[in-house]
Amino acid sequence: MFDFFRLKASTLSLGLCFWLGFSSNSVVAQNGPQPWQMNFRPAATPVMEDIVSFHNLLLIIEVLIVLFVLGLMVYIVIKFNAKANPVPTKTTHNSFLEVMWTVIPIVILVVIAVPSMKLLYFMDKAPKDKVEMTLKVIGHQWYWSYEYPDAGNLAFDSNLIPDEEIDVSKGQIRLLEVDNRVAIPVDTTIRVIMTSDDVLHNWAIPAFGIKMDTVPGRINEAWIRVPAEKAGVYRGQCSELCGVNHGYMPIVIDAMPKQEFAKWLERAKKEFASNARQVDLAQTKITIDTMVD
């Protein structure tokens, strides 16, 4: 059974670090969520870095607004309670104030809108001439499958490792571990194209700033570029309700140096050779299953 209190002592300080925004990679070797975490996971791509810095701006503005309103309310409670102020004023208008509390919010919104648009257009698509590799992601009830069109249609499924097979001593994390991780090379601009085989799913990697629905009949696109110093394991979970096992289809990405990735490709091509023409095989399998039925 899970021991809640074991978590507590060793990790409270860690949570505090996150809260104060001192997130550092040394603490987070595995890049999963941390106990008592109060902030984003450390950013691993330029897109996520921009999300974090834009969110910092938003957070400051919003905290100031909340504190301002709270301050006014505290002042009102102290100054204008029935005891302190027995005779109410009858003021119902003040054009200057009314203009100010319309105009100032507009100015604040413009201040927000500019970096917001910058971020939006930056994250949208990788520039076409810079794409070095394509990764195909297909959502299924309830697992992901991946294809590498640039590597001879290398294809494999990625299934959850169930709780009873999790080996904590190997650093495996419950609900965030799969049998076949997706490998990607660092320092490479990767275009990710996504679709689904059945219902809506959502391929989400918090550290990459990616969260994109996989929709049957449609292809969605996102992009990744992990800098060399951020090589490591990144985790995410399906983020669109997709049925009974929605909570049990994690995503685990192994971002590795280019040479390692080349070796991994060689191994994977052999290991998953039987999947290479997956589409046909899948159809054959359906036919056979139907016949057996």
Binding site: N39, S116, K125
Partner: protein, 542 residues
Amino acid sequence: MSDLTSVDNSAHDHHDHKPTGWRRWAYSTNHKDIGTMYIFLAMIAGLLGMAASMAIRAELALPEIQFITDSQFYNVLVTAHGFLMVFFVVMPALIGGFGNWFIPLMVGAPDMAFPRMNNISFWLLAAALVLLVLSGFVQGGAGTGWTAYPPLSNADYHPGPAVDFAILSLHLAGASSILGAINFITTILNMRTPGMSFHKMPLFIWASLVTAFLLLLALPVLAGALTMLLTDRNFGTTFFEASGGGDPIFWQHLFWFFGHPEVYIMILPAFGIVSEVVSTFSKKPIFGYLGMAYAMAGIGVVGFVVWAHHMFTVGFNVETRAYFVLATMVIAVPTGIKIFSWLATMWGGSIEFKTPMLYAMGFIFLFVVGGVTGITLANAGVDMAFHDTYFVIAHFHYVLSIATIFGIFCGVFYWLPKMCGNMYNETLGKWQFWITFIGVNILFFPQHFLGMAGMPRRIPDYPDAYAGWNLISSFGALISLVGALMFIYIVWVTIRSGERAPANPWGEGATTLEWTVDSPAPFHTHEQAPELEPKSATQPAE
């Protein structure tokens, strides 16, 4: 017909004659009785919806599966919680309940414009509630989430009649709301007492009018979408199926074209109640009355052109997202006007902090907290980090579960003396407020952290790292439960044995027309159009 009714009424005019027994309720055409039934229905549905949320929080209190071993059942709970709270708690309480009770009383009308239609509105909703509860018990239930996105909600992935039951339930609830909206609009437009021009209507009436228009325009779109889903499921059409030339995203457009106005449908009546309460207990007219009224109208209009901010991750092109980001942020402006006008109404007032006022102030502050996270989510860029995480849950529970429910509690404490003729116990009321205030904040604030750390919504089990905040959140749910039960207890005790309330228990600040009739409000009120003195009836527009 109208002649007959008026003859009938005049016969009973002066002795408060009313039908007795079950006929009084089942056949009721009286706006007060129908309002009471709506509030009662909301309380029953509230208990059901709360039971679902308590089961969810109990399951999520610790990692690993505690007692909901069937994940489909977990999804059914999540779905039922959403449907119940939106369609059968918030809407019936704020619109059917307070709307029916107080629109005629506040505009000086003897009843709603169409009393018989009022009756069918209520009973359609009661039937809808039965259908929805039934859907949870047939063949696995509807585990689609309240958004019912196809393909998950179509016949391939939810075979069996559960989803059909839910669709028909929403159809009935929608018909009920459309009829109610027609009734509200007609009453407000035609039956105001002489002298009550639009710019002299109390803000609760403004809020109800805007809400009724939103209902009238938004719900037919939901009905259309539901019908298409129904035929997809049962008659082989493919509106939402890519394989037949349809598109699952099409559903999301239709759903959110209804769904986004729906969130304003839920919050605007609460805005109205809070405005009345703030003005009453500050003993001041509303500050910037016209700005307040037109801010609500503005929110209503802009609310129709921002729906796709719920869909930032479906794969829109970047221009579409850019438009919806900018349009959504515009809503912050009228909302800001409302917040600051409430504060300015209190400014210089002589405020009595009775329970309704505490709830109104709690509403204002926590609506700001939920509102600023709305600004965060409006930005499609950062929404990539937050979409479908607990941050979203925290955001919309701050504005709905906290602010709107505070609006309902505020209204009940404010108007209970008028509705049942007895005063609630002020000490108990204040305790109930603080317990609820603390409970809901402990419940929902940590969910911001969970969302930032990346915990997805609608999962029955989560990675162990999320354990800490989830336990605290579940602990907050327990405190909130105490607050909710205490609320029911206070209402019960007040009705049974509260002190008698005078016609106007709130003093000089309470200037709207409902305080000019006895407490409890007699069965028939305003049989003659009440006099509207320039200063007494409502906030002067100057």
